[in-house]
């Protein structure tokens, strides 16, 4: 799957790498998904949560890189999907090497106060792609469901699209 977005860019939001601005990013994405799309309320909550996780990681990445760079959220709209990209200027990472979590029954589970973010994003959005280089990371999140389709399409398109 190509790493370029499928739709037309609509909104771009740049905020400082500070935790108090994550709420603004959530707000914008939720308002787009509500106002110009037709996503069900629980899917909008899913998107807000995914965006929040990605922004939290982006702020952390900029901070670790010692950069006063912004976090940039871009939204791309296509008839059947909304794509949100969260970009930072950190030093990047290799998503495939992230260690898996222990099973829920494992007593070790309790040691995981962190490392929950990306697994959460993965289970919340319809498609997730990373574009990570030593110059920065882009996290692309896709939600299916168009302006008119509502959630009927979501399930259909979800089934059709191949996940990798």
């Amino acid at each position: 799957m190509a790493l370029v977005a499928a739709g037309t860019k609509s909104v771009e939001l740049s905020v400082p790498s500070r935790s108090e601005y994550v709420a603004v990013v959530r707000l914008v994405v939720a308002s787009l998904a509500t106002g110009t799309r037709n996503l069900a309320a629980d899917r909008i909550d899913d998107l807000k949560l995914a965006v929040s996780e990605a922004c939290t990681n982006a702020i952390e990445a900029n901070r670790k890189a010692g950069l006063d760079a912004p976090v940039i959220a871009s939204c791309w709209e296509a008839p059947e999907r909304l794509e949100v990209c969260i970009a930072d200027s950190g030093t990047g990472f290799e998503p495939s090497t992230l260690s898996a979590h222990p099973e829920v029954s494992d007593p070790e589970r309790l040691n995981f106060e962190r490392g929950l973010g990306i697994p959460l994003i993965r289970s919340l959005v319809d498609d997730l792609r990373f574009e990570s280089t030593p110059q920065g990371t882009k996290v692309w999140m896709t939600m299916f469901g168009g302006p008119d389709s509502g959630d009927a399409t979501t399930e259909i398109v979800r089934t059709v699209v191949e996940r990798d």
Partner: protein, 112 residues
């Protein structure tokens, strides 16, 4: 949306911390501090009432897990009150539903 924290000690031996608003990377540190303080003051049977929580992400979750660990290692416990699908979903996905005792009402939590 500010985080609201309110400590209620009117149900000994339980201490109830009522959390309101959005629990994310910005606000979660305040909850962590509050939990640490309560433990250091000797509170051991904590209940976090999450009914007023409008948003919870993994940072907020991490603080709750951290609080639970801290209490268990001090012979205490932290249980939760929550009925909101939106919030319960986060516990579900991360497999933490099995780690916390989650009650539907404060009464249930106090009874447990």
């Amino acid at each position: 949306m500010e985080l609201g924290l309110h400590v209620d000690t009117s149900n000994p031996p339980f201490t109830v911390i009522v959390v309101r608003g959005e629990l994310d990377v910005y606000s979660a540190p305040r909850l962590r501090e509050a939990l640490v303080e309560l433990v250091s003051e000797g509170h051991r049977k904590l209940i976090a009432d999450l009914e007023g929580v409008e948003f919870l992400d993994s940072t907020g979750l991490g603080v709750l897990v951290g609080g639970l660990k801290r209490l268990r290692s001090n012979d205490g416990d932290l249980s939760l009150v929550c009925t909101q699908a939106r919030v319960l979903k986060v516990f579900d996905i991360t497999g933490l539903t099995g780690v916390f005792r989650i009650s539907s009402t404060l009464e249930d939590a106090l009874a447990g």
